[in-house]
């Protein structure tokens, strides 16, 4: 099947069409169809994973003309490489879980809800597989719409504010990116590029001043999505108000768009600017890590706390990605997946207790461990994954990021970022303690039921992945390595000869001569 990517991407749309013909009263059928659609999408995505060749090329490519008018030529050009592969897999994997998570939480307007979810899936998959800048932009914007509705219609008390804030915040960024995109295209046409295909632009030489502006525009859009300090304030609102599935998708996948955007577009397209802005971005990332941790510490709302923890985690991702060496970028990519899984799981967990108690205030809970041991166990595991305990997925990513950035010019940033490890433990464990430990003194909490089978079924795949990725991350790393190397090769500016050479560039131990230890003069008397 040569068009498997298209099939995967547009399968949810098929589901939407099906949903349209189901009366809105038969909620069970609606949920079932949505569930089946997402599972089918996941099933379709599996051959992509198995058929993926471990090399740096784009695979499963489809490339047909789409728009051609005036100076522009857009193509329906899609494909995946090691970088997008896992994000696509993450998306298809999370979606059934998201659908399942709302089985009982959403009772109103089920039809619209499911339609939104499926549209969102198409949008996200499309954005990950687009190799045409214009196509990417389209999907990028399309994603906003269902998310906007999900927050606005099924959200909490302050949902309208949150939805509008989310939408307009993101739109401001992406609109500037659009201008940059157009400008880039016209730069390209002068160099003989005839369409929007990303691959063509990789080879485009752009003068540094122009790069700066273009990079800023792209980076701004992505930074909002990531979100990076200080553009993060939409996130806590959006997360707090969104329904569970919305938060899960937002955290697990949507935020990755930002970091993915950096890796896929901003960095390889504008290497000089990347080089120039690395300190700035690293600074913001590190501030984000510490800042979000401090703020998360004093949150009273569990969901908001998790939302701020997202900001911190993505700070790590940014730091890793901008360290521009294999460890850092690989770590960043891994951390994206990890964050998707663990923070997604955290939001699900918050959703579980919210569904039971209709409150998310930490002070309303306490001692739940006694009443809900299975829940407590899963919550604990996810919490640990989130604070990056070795053996869980969170650790591998974080460690690689830190070691990568430490090795690069971002050494001091890495030092400060490492302290985020402490803060993460503080706020997560404190929250865990306040919710799960202590006396079970609230009568409302004394009657809570433990997780039911459906909820366990939602969490088990995530928990399994948490450990699999923590204990045996190599398969994940291997598939992305060639692509990561390619990105680095494109985005990296070799230090000028006169500059102080500090770090040997991607030294290959087996090739580079290793001086035998014995020949070293031993300082002896």
């Amino acid at each position: 099947m040569s068009n498997i990517l298209s099939v995967m991407t547009f399968l949810p749309i098929l589901g939407v069409l099906l949903l349209l013909f189901i009366p809105k009263e038969s909620k069970g059928t609606l949920r079932g169809v949505a569930m089946l659609t997402t599972i089918a999408t996941f099933a379709v995505s599996l051959p992509i994973l198995t058929g993926f060749q471990t090399n740096a090329d784009f695979q499963f490519v489809e490339n047909v003309p789409w728009i051609a008018a005036g100076p522009f030529a857009m193509r329906y050009n899609i494909g995946i490489d090691g970088i997008s592969l896992w994000l696509v897999m993450l998306t298809t994997f999370i979606m059934p879980i998201a659908v399942l998570s709302t089985w009982t939480a959403v009772e109103e307007k089920v039809k619209e809800y499911m339609i939104c979810l499926l549209l969102l899936e198409t949008g996200m998959l499309g954005a990950f597989i687009s190799l045409d800048l214009f196509l990417f932009y389209i999907f990028w914007e399309v994603m906003l719409i269902p998310m906007y509705f999900m927050i606005g219609i099924w959200g909490g008390k302050n949902r309208i504010y949150a939805a509008l804030k989310f939408f307009i915040y993101t739109m401001v960024g992406s609109m500037l990116m659009l201008v940059a995109l157009i400008y880039l295209y016209f730069l390209g046409t002068k160099a003989g590029i005839t369409d929007f295909s990303l691959l063509h632009f990789f080879d485009l030489k752009i003068d540094p001043a122009t790069q700066t502006w273009l990079f800023l525009a792209f980076a701004f859009a992505f930074a909002i999505k990531v979100p990076m300090f200080p553009l993060h304030t939409w996130l806590p609102d959006a997360h707090t108000e969104a329904p569970t599935a919305g938060s899960v998708i937002l955290a697990a996948i949507l935020l990755k768009m930002g970091t993915y955007g950096y890796v896929r577009f901003a960095m390889p397209l504008f290497p000089e600017a990347t080089h120039r802005f690395t300190p700035l971005i690293a600074t913001l990332a590190v501030i984000g890590i510490i800042y979000a941790a401090l703020v998360a510490m004093v949150q009273e709302d569990v969901k908001k706390l998790v939302a701020y923890s997202s900001v911190a985690h993505l700070g790590f991702v940014m730091l890793g990605v901008f360290s521009l060496n294999e460890q850092g970028v690989t770590g960043g990519m891994l951390q994206m997946l990890n964050h998707g899984i663990s923070t997604g799981a955290l939001f699900l967990i918050v959703g579980f207790i919210y569904e039971r108690r209709h409150t998310r205030l930490i002070t309303d809970f306490g001692g739940l461990s006694k009443q809900m041991p299975i829940f407590a166990t899963i919550f604990m595991i996810v919490t640990l994954s989130s604070i990056g305990l070795p053996g869980t997925n969170g650790f591998v990513g974080e460690f690689l990021i830190l070691i990568g950035s430490f090795e690069s010019s971002l050494r001091w940033y890495a030092v400060i970022a490492s302290s985020g490890v402490i803060f993460a433990a503080v706020y997560m464990l404190w929250m865990f303690q306040r919710v799960m430990f202590g006396e079970l003194d609230n009568p409302k909490n004394q009657v809570l039921a433990d997780l039911n089978l459906r909820e366990i079924a939602i969490m088990v795949p995530l928990v399994v992945l948490i450990f699999v990725m923590g204990v045996y991350p190599n398969p994940f790393i291997e598939k992305m390595t060639p692509s990561v190397m390619k990105v680095i090769a494109k985005a990296r500016i070799e230090p000028v000869a006169t500059a102080k050479v500090v770090v040997p560039v991607v030294a290959q131990p087996e090739v580079a001569p290793v001086q035998p230890a014995a020949e070293q003069p031993v300082t002896a008397h």
Partner: protein
């Protein structure tokens, strides 16, 4: 040959999985306990076999890496899941699995009837697994896995009684403080990896590789930074100044946990780690000084606090901190073997002490329960005269106490004396030696004092327990007593593994087995030391003299304790009334916790709150919403230009025309 090493951590892991996943279904305590204990026993057996195999090898071949699978590869960073079998790790394996097994057995009795029994054993097994990873991991990262893993288990086990707020707090405190240390560990790892790679193009975090290439490292400088980072990690895990405060609080956990984790094994991880990387530490004299001073200070400082505590476990906890200080003192003066030696003997007698105190508490608790009293079962002021009721426990406890006090013939004497002698004689720190020795000696005095204070208050004198409860006090079941006996035995015998040459010579050249055994591990460090510092030759007389001095010191301490708590129990009260401020300060642990709260915890929270309400909400969102509302306000103003009056509209048009025309006319 060592292919089955992976079994060692595997058994506890299996035990953990079985108990953790199925424990709730199993329900039968005996089965659960047996699974837990058996898993560790299996590990112990494999460890013993491994040990035997290892000593069967020539000394120079006793370093074996066993790779299981590649864990992480990214660029030139590579970390395997692989085990390092060498004398040091083997010794630790034996200690961990051996004592671990005893404590598992003990726990079956001790934890009887507790809610979440299966959980306890699952955690305990997980802990053993993590600890085994820590000691056998052949690279820094795998060690770190164990390092954090034991921290986690410690957290889980401290918070075992999660419904108690204090337990939750203590667990969190332990984890966070450990994390501070881990931060140091990580930084150390990064710096080492980067520096080694950058200067020598050796990109590795594997211990044997690092050891092989340690000669490439300079003295001081970067190595100081690296080692200080690692030492920060060690202070966290091993409860040294400044990160020691979590350990006393950790006594919120069940007593077996205190024995296993917070006395015998986990807290020694820092010492082990320094031993493991002795070749690094020795290359930074500055760090060595820091280690020695911190160790000495901690030993002394914790001991002072220990003198004023009334909670039986707290006394032991401060004693642990203090003893760990000794170990660091040893490491800091370059007496690595002595440090490890003390680690081992301490594991024996401190486990014994904790388990003994557990037995006491158990008994007290039962008795108090019978009379429906809410008195604190751990408060020594409620105890006294228990000797009669729990003779076996008393016996083992006394043996362990003598051992820790440093009475000749018992294990503690040998190890502690070795440390004091090294502190005094090792030329590494020059004139600082006297200070270091002095601190050690004072700590020894205090140790003897507060330990015997504990014994006297608990087992001697009149029984101060609530009326009617005394008759319910009884000796513990065999499942508890047997481990005590074994440990007491070890507390006596353990010392003879590392007889000082001086004494060994007395008995016809009995060698210092431990020294010989560990020699290959510290060879690199020792060689370096030999090459760089010139040991002064000390006369045997001096050495004998020092030994005698330490015995005298111990005896003085015991005497004072006897005087104050046995002979004239009114004296302490007088003393406290005479110096109320001092007593209060010591009793309240020199207010260090409060200081930390004031200096770090509260400012952090305040900062967090400020950033949230002040920056996030006010500034960032203020700007965002401000822009929005400014635009909206503009809209509100501009719309009023739309007056609805035609002549206004016409005027606007005319003005537009005039403006445009004027611009071009005057251009």
């Amino acid at each position: 040959m060592f292919d089955n090493v992976w079994l060692i951590p595997l058994f506890p892991l299996i035990g953990f999985l079985i108990n953790g996943l199925l424990g709730k279904k199993i329900k039968n305590e005996t089965v659960i306990g047996s699974i837990g204990a058996f898993a560790v026993l299996c590990s112990f057996i494999v460890s013993v076999m491994t040990f035997l195999k290892l000593i069967g090898l020539p000394a120079e071949e006793r370093v074996i890496n066993v790779k299981i699978f590649t864990w992480i590869t990214a660029g030139h960073f590579n970390a395997d899941v692989a085990f390092l079998i060498d004398p040091l790790s083997c010794l630790m394996l034996l200690v961990v699995t051996g004592i671990g097994f005893l404590i598992h057995v003990y726990s079956i009795g001790y934890m009887h009837g507790e809610e979440g029994f299966y959980r306890f054993f699952a955690y305990l097994n997980l802990f053993v697994f993590s600890m085994l990873l820590l000691v056998t991991g052949n690279n820094l990262l795998l060690m770190f896995v164990g390092w954090e893993g034991v921290g986690l288990c410690s957290y889980l086990l401290i918070g075992y009684y999660f419904h108690k707020k204090s337990a939750g707090d203590a667990g969190k405190k332990a984890f966070v403080m450990n994390r501070v240390g881990d931060f140091g560990f990580l930084l150390g790892t990064f710096t080492l990896f980067w520096y080694m790679g950058q200067t020598n193009n050796i990109w590795t975090i594997q211990f044997t590789e690092l050891a092989k290439n340690a000669n490439l490292l300079p003295t001081g400088g970067v190595v100081t930074v690296i080692t200080l980072c690692f030492f920060l990690g060690a202070t966290g895990k091993s409860a040294q100044i400044p990160l020691y405060t979590w350990l006393p609080d950790a006594m919120e956990g069940p007593t077996p946990v205190s024995a296993l984790i917070h006395a015998a094994t986990m807290v020694t991880a820092g010492v082990y780690m320094i031993g493991r990387m002795s070749y690094l530490f020795i290359r930074s004299p500055e760090t060595m000084t820091v280690v020695a001073l911190v160790g000495g200070c901690t030993a002394l400082f914790a001991a002072t606090i220990g003198t004023a505590q009334n909670d039986i476990k707290r006394v032991l906890a401060y004693s642990t901190v203090s003893q760990l200080g000794y170990m660091f003192l040893a490491m800091g003066v370059g007496a690595f073997t002595a440090g490890i030696f003390h680690l081992m003997t301490h594991a024996f007698f401190k486990a014994c002490l904790f388990l003994g105190s557990g037995a006491v508490i158990h008994s007290m608790h039962g008795a108090l329960h019978h009379v429906h009293s809410h008195d604190d079962a751990q408060d020594m002021r409620n105890m006294g005269g228990l000797r009669k009721h729990m003779p076996l426990t008393f016996l083992t406890f006394l043996i362990a106490t003598i051992a820790i006090a440093g009475i000749p013939g018992f294990s503690g004497f040998f190890s502690k004396d070795e440390i004091l002698w090294q502190a005094f004689s090792n030329p590494l720190h020059g004139d600082l030696n006297i200070v270091l020795w002095g601190m050690g000696a004072c700590a020894a005095l205090l140790t003897a004092f507060y330990m015997f204070r504990l014994v006297f208050m608990t087992f001697f004198g009149t029984c101060r327990i609530k009326e009617g409860a005394e008759k319910h006090l009884h000796e513990s079941p065999m499942v508890i007593v047997i481990p005590l006996l074994v440990l007491a035995l070890l507390s006596i015998l353990g010392g003879y593994l590392g007889l000082p040459k001086l004494i060994g010579d007395l008995f016809g050249g009995v060698p210092n087995y431990l020294d010989q055994y560990l020699e290959p591990v510290f060879a690199n460090a020792n060689q370096y030391m030999l090459a760089h510092v010139h040991p002064e030759q000390h006369s045997h007389t001096l050495e004998w003299g020092m030994m005698a001095a330490s015995v005298v010191i111990a005896l003085i301490g015991i005497s004072i304790a006897a005087l104050l708590y046995l002979i004239n129990p009114e004296l302490p009260k007088k003393f406290t009334t005479a110096f109320p401020a001092l007593h209060r300060a010591v009793y309240n642990k020199w207010y260090i916790d409060e200081l930390y709260d004031f200096m770090i915890v509260n400012p952090c929270k305040a900062l967090g709150r400020f950033l949230w309400k002040g920056f996030d909400v006010l500034v960032v969102d203020g700007v965002v919403n401000g822009v929005a509302s400014t635009v909206m306000a503009f809209g509100g103003v501009i719309r009023y230009m739309q007056s609805g009056l035609i002549y206004n509209y016409a005027w606007s048009m005319a003005l537009g025309v005039v403006a445009i025309v004027a611009y071009y006319v005057f251009k």
